[in-house]
Amino acid sequence: MLEIDGVSINYGPVSAVRDVSLKVEQGEIVALLGPNGAGKTSLLSAAMGLRPLAAGSIRFKGEDMRRLDTESRVRRGLTLTPEGRKVFANLTVLENLDLGAATRARGADFHADIEMCFELFPILAERRHQTGGSLSGGEQQMLAIARSLMSRPSLLMLDEPSLGLAPRIVGQIFRLIRDLRQRDLTILLVEQNAHEVLRFADRAYVLSTGECRYSGPAARLQEAGALMQAYIGELVA
C-alpha cells in the first residue's frame, strides 16, 4: 500500500535520513522503531509532503506521491497523527473532530463517523464541548487518533502515540490501536516504546542515525538482545 523507496532527507547541510526503503501492505500493522533522532518523524513528514525528499520516491496505492501536496495526500487516504498529539487547544473536542473530516462534507456519514469515534473513545463523548487544551494527555492522544480517523484513512500513520503518557494509559492506547485493525485499517506505528509494540505488530523496521538497520518480522526482534543488536546494526534479518 505504501512504498517508500531509497528515500533521503536533508535539513540544510545535515542529512537526517539516508537511503531508507520501507513497505506497508494492506491490513498490516508495521512498527517503525529506533532511538531519538533516528529520522522516524522526518520520514513520516516526508510521506505527508511536509518535508522535501533529497532522493528516492514515495508511492501510495501505486500512485507517485511526490507531485502531490499534503492536502491531496490526505484526500487519497493517507493520514498522520503527529508527534506530540497537536490537538487544536482552542477548539472543542467536537470542533477538532469536525476539522478532522475536512476532506468531506458534513453529510449523514459524517455524523455517523462522529458517533463511531465516541463509541471508540467514550471519554471524548463526555468531553465533547470541552476545549482540546483542557484534556489530559491521554485524552488528547485519543482525540488526535479519533480526529485522524475522521478523514476515513486507509493508512494511518501514528507518530509516538505513547509519548509522555502514564504506563496505564499507554496500555489503553495500544489496545485501541490493535482494535483499529478490525476496522479495515492499515497502520504504520512509530515508537520508541519498542517492546510493547512488538507484541502486536506484524513487521518492524529499525531506524538508527538515519539508516535502516533492520527490516523483517516483528517477532524476531522480541528475542533477547535482538533489538539492541538491531539498534547498533549487527542484527541481520
Binding site: 492536502e71 490526505v74 497537536k86 487544536f88 487547544a89 482552542n90 470542533e95 476539522l99 478523514s151
Partner: protein, 299 residues
C-alpha cells in the same frame, strides 16, 4: 446627561469603525502571521471604486456600496495571491515590509490615476441626516455604524464557529501545519482570511467615506494606524481584543474631542497615541492578550 448619551453613541460608532478594521488585521495576523500594513489602503480602494462608478454616471448609493465592497474583497484576494504569497513563510519583518510596500503602491496608484488632491464623493451624504430619537439628535450613519458592525461581528463569530473553514482559521492561529494534515488547503484558508479582512475593511471604509464625503490618496494611513493601535491595545492577534481595543479607541477619541480645547486640537491624534503608550507600559501584552513569553509565536 443628553450630551453624555450623544457622546456615548458617538464613541460607539467611531469605535465600531476601528473595530472592523482591527478585526481584519487581527484575522490575517492570527492565520498567517502577517502584519498587513496595507490594510488602510482598502479604504482608499473602496473610495476610488465608488468615485470611478459615480464618474461613470452610476450614482445609486446602494449599488455604489455593493460595488465598493466587492472591489475591496477582490483586491484583498489579488494582493494575497501576488504580493503576500511569495513571503508567506518568511520572517514577520519581511511580511510587514512587503505590506508596507504594497500600501505605497496603492496610494501612488490613486495619486497617479486620479489626482493628488481630494475628490468629493457626495453620494452617501444622505446618511449624515440627523434624526430625533427621544429628544436626542443622532445621525442615521451612527445607527448604521453600530448596527451593521454588530451584525458583521455576529456573522463573523458564526463563520468562525459554524463553518469548516472558520474552524480551520481558528486552528491555524495555533498550528497551521496540523491544519494541513487534516487535508485543509492552506491557500483556501489564507485566501478566506484575506477576503474577510477586505470585506470588513470595506464596511468600515463606507462609513469613513460617508462621514468625510471626500477621498484622497492617503486617507487610509491614519485609520490603519489607529486600527493597529486598537489591535495592540486588545492584544495583537486576539479577535475579541481587536473589537474591545477598537471600541476603547473610539471612546478615547471622542473623549479627547470633548475635553481638548480647540487650540490643542492638533494634539488629538498625539494624545490618542500617548494614552495607548501609557496603557502599554502597564500591560505590554494588551488588555485581552495573554502574556507572551520570549520565543512564543509573536509578530
Amino acid at each position: 446627561m443628553d450630551y453624555l448619551i450623544e457622546q456615548a453613541l458617538n464613541g460607539f460608532s467611531i469605535g465600531a469603525q476601528y473595530s472592523l478594521l482591527a478585526l481584519g488585521l487581527a484575522i490575517v495576523f492570527s492565520v498567517m502571521g502577517l502584519v498587513n500594513f496595507a490594510h488602510g489602503e482598502f479604504i482608499g480602494v473602496a473610495g476610488y471604486a465608488m468615485f470611478a462608478m459615480a464618474a461613470m454616471g452610476m450614482t445609486d448609493p446602494l449599488l455604489l456600496v455593493v460595488f465598493a465592497m466587492a472591489t475591496v474583497t477582490l483586491v484583498a484576494l489579488v494582493l494575497e495571491r501576488i504580493a503576500f504569497r511569495p513571503v508567506r513563510n518568511a520572517p514577520s519583518t519581511t511580511g510587514l515590509l512587503t505590506a508596507f510596500g504594497v500600501g505605497i503602491i496603492l496610494q501612488n496608484l490613486f495619486l497617479l490615476m486620479v489626482s493628488p488632491r481630494p475628490k468629493a464623493v457626495p453620494e452617501l451624504s444622505a446618511l449624515n441626516q440627523t434624526v430625533d430619537v427621544w429628544g436626542h439628535n443622532f445621525t442615521i450613519l451612527q445607527f448604521l455604524e453600530v448596527g451593521v458592525t454588530t451584525v458583521a461581528i455576529a456573522g463573523l463569530v458564526w463563520f468562525l464557529k459554524g463553518t469548516r473553514i472558520g474552524l480551520a482559521m481558528r486552528a491555524a492561529a495555533l498550528d497551521f501545519t496540523t491544519v494541513r494534515l487534516m487535508g485543509m488547503r492552506a491557500n483556501r484558508v489564507i485566501a478566506t482570511a484575506f477576503a474577510i479582512s477586505g470585506l470588513l475593511a470595506s464596511i468600515a471604509a463606507i462609513f469613513f467615506i460617508a462621514r468625510r464625503g471626500a477621498i484622497d490618496p492617503f486617507m487610509g494611513l491614519l485609520p490603519v494606524l489607529k486600527a493597529f493601535v486598537a489591535c495592540v491595545l486588545g492584544g495583537f492577534g486576539s479577535l475579541p481584543g481587536a473589537v474591545v481595543g477598537g471600541l476603547l479607541l473610539g471612546f478615547v477619541e471622542v473623549m479627547l474631542i470633548v475635553l481638548l480645547p480647540d487650540k490643542l486640537a492638533g494634539l488629538r491624534d498625539a494624545s490618542v497615541f500617548l494614552i495607548v503608550g501609557a496603557i502599554l507600559v502597564f500591560r505590554p501584552q494588551g488588555i485581552l492578550g495573554r502574556r507572551v513569553e520570549l520565543g512564543d509565536k509573536t509578530a
